[in-house]
């Protein structure tokens, strides 16, 4: 153990846990990290990073409408998320307009709509929580909901693992043996909508795609095996969630940003390691 005069590591670690809001927040951050990292592997491998970011942003009007009407915020967000997921799936099926263009149009419009609705209210305070997350405001009920959604997402990923994996690297073989690749893609978008909604409390609308992409991208540099990549990504995300929250507690900086930047630091280390490994191999 590290023993510097006047500094006790154990105390330092335990101090934040004396507060129940910190315990709940920490649990939420860990759960969200695991969910985002597992699904994030597909987001990275299937090059869906832009869609993930778009889905997170389009949830905003749903959140605002739910807030203004005193409905359940999760309900508003998940409705907006699923509508967007279906919309993206529908647009990309027709193939007349390029998918990334369509997403760019829809996602900025939805985000603008959210901001427009926000500006009708005098106080912006609650909305900054939506934009940047408010992990210390996570309630017991929120935590339960996050756990249920997480269990659902992970179970679906496990049950459909071989089909999701196959359609990701060879959709042609999948189609020849009778798997409907479009429907699986749709399923992934719906899972993405649920995942994004859970992470909004933790890092907010704007930074959600970092939790989806960064840990998985770091893991992809470390391993060449999909389940292992999901596991490594989850470990990175959990570490970042815990470390970010402690940094936020002791230095009084925004927790969502601290978590994201810890993820980024992990990615930096993984990237540097892979560069060095390639140099050595050569």
């Amino acid at each position: 153990m590290m023993e510097i005069e006047g500094f006790d590591l154990l105390d330092w670690l335990l101090e934040p846990l004396r507060f129940s809001f910190m315990r709940t927040g920490l649990m939420a951050a860990i759960l969200v990290g695991i969910i985002c990292a597992a699904l994030g592997a597909y987001v990275v491998l299937r090059r869906m990073a832009f869609i993930g970011d778009a889905l997170a942003h389009t949830v905003l009007p749903g959140l605002v409408v739910a807030y203004l009407n005193r409905w359940n915020l999760f309900g508003g967000a998940i409705t907006a998320g699923i509508v967007t997921a279906l919309g993206i799936g529908w647009v990309s099926r027709r193939g007349q307009i390029r998918e990334d263009t369509a997403i760019g149009v829809i996602f900025t419009a939805m985000f603008a709509l959210g901001i427009l609705l926000m500006s009708t209210v005098r106080s912006f305070r609650d909305f900054t929580h939506m934009l940047f997350g408010n992990i210390l405001g996570v309630s017991r009920a929120d935590l339960t909901l996050i756990a249920i959604i997480g269990a659902g997402v992970i179970t679906t990923l496990a049950l459909l693992h071989k089909e999701l994996e196959l359609t990701s690297y060879d959709h042609i073989h999948a189609q020849t043996i009778g798997i409907n690749a479009d429907r699986l893609r749709f399923t992934l978008l719906i899972l993405l909508a649920f995942t994004v909604v859970t992470s909004i409390q933790v890092v907010g609308v704007i930074l959600t795609s970092a939790l989806l992409v960064t840990p998985a991208a770091a893991a992809s540099l470390i391993t060449n095996n999909l389940p292992r990549m999901m596991l490594v990504a989850a470990l990175i995300a959990v570490f970042s969630a815990v470390a970010g929250l402690y940094v936020s507690f002791y230095t009084n900086v925004a927790s969502g940003a601290a978590i994201v930047l810890t993820c980024t630091a992990c990615f930096g280390i993984a990237w540097a390691m892979s560069v060095i490994r390639h140099q050595v191999m050569r």
Partner: protein, 246 residues
């Protein structure tokens, strides 16, 4: 309990029907106005090995994709063992051109080959010991056992082609559609693939092979189908002379 990817998985083939019967087939790519294939007809008897030849853009790949059920015909019919396309997915194996696969994906060679078993497993079932044994046998047959744990992108072009053929073998398909399996591969791969194809023929399997390798066609294939501009052309020795040089 089995949840097949396609409800028609169990359809029995019609007895006495040829392995493949294509009649007056017209196919266009989705969104394109002009068809790539115009009224192509052909028949493959069970247990034959047939070459599909023609210049680039003549419609070879499109024909194979239509038979594999990847493109929907505008007109005409395709019967596989007497059944419509999709009536017997597990009986048809399609080997795409290598460029159609994301080789950077984090899976190893064994897992790629295992995907040949999926059609027999269906939803929610995990591969069992027997499936993995078939995979290992196929890897050995194609000389890939030492590379089984490699990430698929770390293979050479020829090794990748052999891995795809191994996947078709574990699928235990009766009709194999191979798109340019011999293009850009090493001599070892060419020899291995030839041996495997010989063996398949002896076991009564049917194969249709799009190829540029037109030398010694007559003794390697039972029949030769030539395409040009999406139409069927009579095969002449000119094809050999023209293309073998290039």
């Amino acid at each position: 309990m089995r949840f097949a990817y396609n409800r028609r998985y169990y359809a029995d083939p019609l007895s006495g029907a040829p392995a493949l019967e294509v009649c007056d087939l017209t196919v266009a790519h989705p969104g394109a106005r002009h068809p790539v294939l115009h009224g192509v007809s052909l028949t493959l008897q069970t247990g034959t090995r047939v070459a599909l030849v023609g210049p680039n853009g003549s419609g070879k790949s499109t024909l194979l994709k239509a038979i594999a059920g990847l493109l929907r015909p505008q007109q005409g019919t395709i019967r596989i063992y007497g059944l419509p396309v999709g009536g017997c997915h597990h009986r048809v194996a399609y080997l795409p051109q290598r460029s159609e696969i994301d080789w950077r994906f984090p899976i190893n060679v064994r897992r790629l080959v295992l995907a040949g078993r999926y059609v027999h497993l269906g939803w929610l079932r995990w591969p069992g010991k027997a499936d993995w044994q078939r995979v290992d046998a196929a890897l050995e047959r194609l000389g890939l056992e030492a590379l089984a744990e490699r990430q698929i992108g770390a293979l050479s072009g020829g090794q990748q082609q052999r891995a795809l053929l191994a996947r078709a073998l574990v699928q235990e398909a009766d009709l194999l559609l191979l798109d340019e399996p011999l293009t850009g591969v090493d001599a070892e791969t060419r020899a291995t693939i030839a041996t495997v194809l010989d063996d398949l023929k002896q076991r009564g399997k049917t194969s249709l092979i799009a190829t540029h390798h037109l030398d010694r066609l007559a003794d390697e294939y039972d029949d030769i189908i030539a395409l040009e501009d999406g139409r069927r052309r009579a095969f002449t020795n000119d094809h050999v002379l023209v293309h073998a040089g290039g």
